[in-house]
Symmetry: C2
Subunit: 211 residues, 2 copies
């Protein structure tokens, strides 16, 4: 069996170094490169033959979700495992729709990490056991209308400003649109994310690396 070529992507050096150390004694797994953000990751994918990308969802410059989209578009043969701090079914389903091969919590063990990489590299999907549990819980709900749609560019832009503490009027001024339009976007955001106030929007924005 050929070695699994890995690309690590995380904006925290300690986690990168940690992952490298954790994987250094695995004979069949080789860390070929590492990146601190999505842009760098895409550049490296163009240069190297990568089997599996192990990527944080919460990054500056180009966040995990957008990077995942690009990878699925440009480098279809590379598998992507998302590393996240949080365990939320809505996000996980969205990531699956976007073509992620796995979802690991940062609280997982070394053993789970290496097994996930091997499993995914063979074309399978892997999700943390805790994650699977919450997925099952959600999909047993009425479901149907509860699919998580991804946000548009404009919506993301406005969500960032909302999380930045700006009012609709202030955001309207910044973007040269009516404050009523901002309100419409906010309403749509809340519907998509399935929250019913600003608090929910901001939690989402922060947890998933938009801010």
């Amino acid at each position: 069996m050929r070695e699994i070529h890995l690309l690590l992507v995380d904006d925290h050096q300690i986690i990168l170094d940690g992952l490298k150390s954790l994987l250094s004694n695995q004979e069949d797994i080789q860390v070929l490169a590492e990146a601190n953000d999505g842009r760098e990751a895409l550049r490296l994918l163009g240069l190297l033959q990568i089997d599996v990308v192990l990527m944080d969802i919460d990054m500056p410059v180009l966040n995990g979700i957008d990077t995942l989209k690009e990878i699925r578009k440009l480098y279809k043969e590379a598998k992507v495992i998302i590393l996240s701090m949080h365990n939320e079914a809505g996000m996980i389903k969205s990531l699956m729709d976007l073509g992620a091969s796995g979802y690991l919590l940062k609280s997982c063990s070394q053993h789970e990490l290496t097994e996930a990489i091997r499993w995914v590299s063979q074309g399978n999907r892997y999700f943390s056991s805790d994650v699977t549990l919450s997925l099952l819980k959600t999909s047993s709900e009425p479901s149907g209308e509860s699919r998580t749609e991804m946000l548009t560019e404009r919506e993301t832009e406005i969500l960032k400003l909302i999380a930045g503490g700006f009012s609709n009027r202030e955001i309207g001024d910044k973007l040269f649109i009516s404050h009523r339009t901002v309100d419409t976007h906010r309403t749509n955001l809340m519907k998509k994310i399935q929250v019913n106030n600003i608090a929910g929007l901001i939690s989402y924005a922060i947890r998933y690396g938009l801010v």
Copy 2:
């Protein structure tokens, strides 16, 4: 020189394992134990002779700040280095007031990590270079009244609920107090944290591990 006895505290196993790996080839630094939350950390401090505690600020069960307070109270000889994702002057000043010996960003290098541990173990204080920069920037401001006060128990409780997306009225119902009282607490919170809306409160709550 005696070995430096280290206690690692983080709720993410990958980071714990990573730190252990990073420190495993340092002859003068020995990881004596590790904990997943503040409560466990305090228990271990009672059992072992710890020189330096390397602790995440963002943890469930007992967060970094409260744990720091307890450590300073019960185990004065142990030095505490806070590991954080974020770089914000207000929080850093508060931590210094509470007796933290160091503040490291998770984006720091292995070299910076080990140097910080050695430096702190000798009774010095260490703050990431980026951090020092932002500290200088802030302390050159008018200052004087801008000290960050810590939140009271009740305020923390209410802040968590606000970040959870509950309205003042809902929070009042939960805590069996008037919604106007909740409003007062919220007003005081905003004054202490120096923000002027919910967005700021929630950012604070999430970044500093209250949620």
